[in-house]
Each structure stands twice: as structure tokens, then as C-alpha cells.
Amino acid sequence: MKGLLIKDFRLLKNQKNFFILVFVMAVFLTITGGDESSPATFVLPYVGFVCSFFVLSTISYDEYDNGNAFLFTLPFDRKIYALEKYIFGIVTGGAGLLLILAFILIYTDGMAGAEQTGETLFTAGVSAALLFFFLAVMIPFQLKFGPEKGRIAMFIVLLGTMALVFGIVKLAGLDDSALREAARVMGRMGLSGVAAVCIAAAAAVMVISMFISARILEKKEF
């Protein structure tokens, strides 16, 4: 695991310009975000989403020029490779989120007082859940189909899932009252409760995803 993490962090150096660009964009969007709502509402999920791509790029680097064949002769288990990708994704995505969160807290608290802090922290929690969810969905596709086909397959499955959910909602005859009931439940839980549930749900999806990725790798030939 240690060797894999070292490799991926060293590979990440190739992405440092991209990382700087993401950070600059996030800072710019925070500053120009407007007064009506916390800038975190858009910026944090954006950073979470973009940072999740760092781990995908390391998978592409591993696959480049048939590199996986040699990589998988090194002393580690295939399951460990899968696990490492999730850990690397959480660490890099989490670091990106924390960095921007710190900036937003300092900036908004400095400019407008601390009224928005609760909302910002809630958004950060939901963004972390989104990051987990992105990683959980994207990593198995990337491992199974590679960088190009993986993205296409992932979008097809996501669209299919959305269509399925939409179909279930229509067929089950769920209407506004169900939404209002959901909103009432969330209201009782409070912002931190909702964020915690989101993170827990995403983490559960991630654990399932990890098992799927490990299975994909066990079957893979190089």
C-alpha cells in the first residue's frame, strides 16, 4: 500500500498545474459568488467533483503504455490496489475540500460575519458525501473499461439510473406530499444530521463499490 501511495502522489506532481487552476477558480468563484447565499453552495461541490478526477488520472497513468502489467508484478495484492485508489481519492479530494473550506470560512467570516458558517459546514459535509459518491461510481468503471470507455459506460449507467428512479417515482405515484414529508424529516434532523446521513450513505455505497472494484481486478488480465 505504501509503495502504491508514494507512486500516486509522485504521479500527482504531473497534475500540479491543474490543481493550482482548480484552487484559483475556486477562490475566484468564492470572491465573486454574490451576497444572497454562501459561495460554498457551488464552490465546495465543484471542488469535490474536480478533485475526484485526480484518482482517475492515476489509474490512467498506471494503464498508460501497458504499465499495469509490470505494476502488478510488484509485491502487493490486487485488493490492496483497489483499496489504495479509494484511499488516495479520499485523501486528495478531502485535502482539496478542506483547503477551499478553510479559505471560504476565513473569507466569508471575515467579510460577512459568522452567520453563514453553519450553512458552509453543511455544504462541506454534503460535498464530502458527493466526493465519496463520485469515487464510488467512477473507480469501478475506470478499472473495468479504462479511461475512455469507462466515462461513456459511467454516463450510460447514471442516465439509466436516473431514468429508473424517474420511472419508479411516476409508477409509484409519488407526488409533492412525499417530497414535503421528506423535507419535514430532514427539518427534524437538522443540517448536521442531514449531512451525516448523506456521508454515511455515500460511505456505504463506497464500501460496496470497493468490493466491486476488487472483484473486477481479480478477474482482470494484463
Binding site: 505504501k2 509503495g3 502504491l4 501511495l5 508514494i6 507512486k7 509522485r10 504521479l11 506532481k13 504531473n14 497513468y61 498506471d62 498508460y64 503504455d65 501497458n66 504499465g67 499495469n68 502489467a69 509490470f70 505494476l71 502488478f72 508484478t73 510488484l74 509485491p75 502487493f76 495484492d77 478477474k219 488480465e221 494484463f222
Partner: protein, 283 residues
Amino acid sequence: MLKLENVRKNYDRFTLECSLEVQPGCITGLVGQNGAGKSTTFKAILGLIHTDGGRITLLGKDTKALTTADKERVGVVLSNSGVSEYLTVRDTAAMLDGFYRSFDRADFLEKCRGYQLPVDRKIKEFSTGMKAKLKLLIAISHGADFLLLDEPTAGLDVVARDSLLGILREYMEEDENRAILISSHISTDLEGVCDDLYMIHEGRIILHEETDVLLGSYGLLKLDPEQYASVDQQYFLRVKKEPYGYSALTDQKQFYIENYPKVVIENSGIDDMITMMIRGERV
């Protein structure tokens, strides 16, 4: 050290059916044409592909049961794959340090510098020869007991090949129980370093012999039609029609030297042997 027993791998247009053995203290060569099954054999040993039958034992264990610690005892060079070319040698050293307990980072970097490999430049900027040297230095960097080297000299000039083979000889001298399985389509490389050779063709081992025997006892007879009709053919392994008559491969060169002094008999190099074994006909 390594034993393959009836290992089978089926593809649509190719089937590997291979048995071979590498003894401790030996360098065993695997020769064959491109596409003969050399790389598939290596991949099967390394678990990079799933086999459809047979058994592979490495370091006394079934390869499916090898632990991470066991894998640390194996060094690998693959013909068409290496460490990520987006890393530098220094990055690679840091990575290997994380994988192998007996990896000596300072020694590795020193050896790389000794072989004129720039340690802070990305590997993708290296020449073919530099990449080949790096692959071999990585394979021997952690004191492995067994090396699996698939075409380590491919694409290299004579001087670079000789330098690489020198590294291998040095590696073997450090510990008499070490062993190497090496493949190459350049047979002269193998003649110089291998104790025994396996010849593979269309996924099957067609010949296994000690190198000394191959070079000492095997010979190529050049026969006109009359000689061909009159000589004893019981020691012919393969025969091929030639413009001048026939050429015949034998593993009893001395018999023909003594009994047929007028027949032209040449020492057969491994290349001749491969050609005869593949293109020649059984008698």
C-alpha cells in the same frame, strides 16, 4: 525454483501448453520466435493472466498461494511494460522503497548514475537502451532470489547487450542459489549466459537441452542427395530440403564426424537449431 507442469492457456487462435523447470543456481533460457508464447509463459508465471490448466510452482509454492513477502523475492523484467514513464528514477526509487524491505535506495540511485541514467528526468524521455538498463536495475535492486526476464535485451546494440549480460553474471555470482529464467529472440545472448535452454514454438516446448550439450553435440550436416541416401539417419532430429541437397540437424555430431569424414558438418548455433526445429521435417 520454478516448475511449470502442463500449464495451459487458451486464446482464440493460440494455445499455450508448457512444462519447464528452473533449478537453483541456474540460468535457464527460453528461446522462440516472436509470438511463440514466451511472454504468455512469463505472464502465466507472474499471475498476470489466468491459466486454464496445469500447475505453476515458484519458490516452492503454488503461485496462487504466493504472499507479498514471497513476491519480494522475485525480480521482473517484462518486454512491453515497465514502471510508469511519467515518473523519474528518483520517484521510482521512492516507490520501490515503499514496496521492498531490502531495497537500498542510495545503492540503486548510485547504480543508475553509474549506468548514465539521469535520476531526475522523466523515464519517457529515456532512450530504449536507458529504459532497458533501468528495468534490469529495478529487477535486481532488492536482492531477489529469482529473476524472470522477458526479452531484457530487446532493442539494444551489442555493447549495451553485453553490459546487461554482465550485470546478470554479477548478480548470479553474489549468491549461488539464485536463479534466472530469461527469454530472448537473440540466441547469442542466451548461448553466453544460460546453463540450459528451452525452445518454444506455437505455444509448445519443442526442445530442452543443456547449453553445453547443444553447442557440443548438436551439429548441422550438409548433404548432397547421394550422401543423404547413404548416411545413417537414426540420429537425425530434423531434415530440410536445400538447393544443394539436404541439411540435417543431429544431436550426435561426433558419430557423423567419425563415421562420415567426407560429410560437411557444421557446429549448429541456436539460430540454426531454431530454424531446423521449426522448418525441418522429422525423419
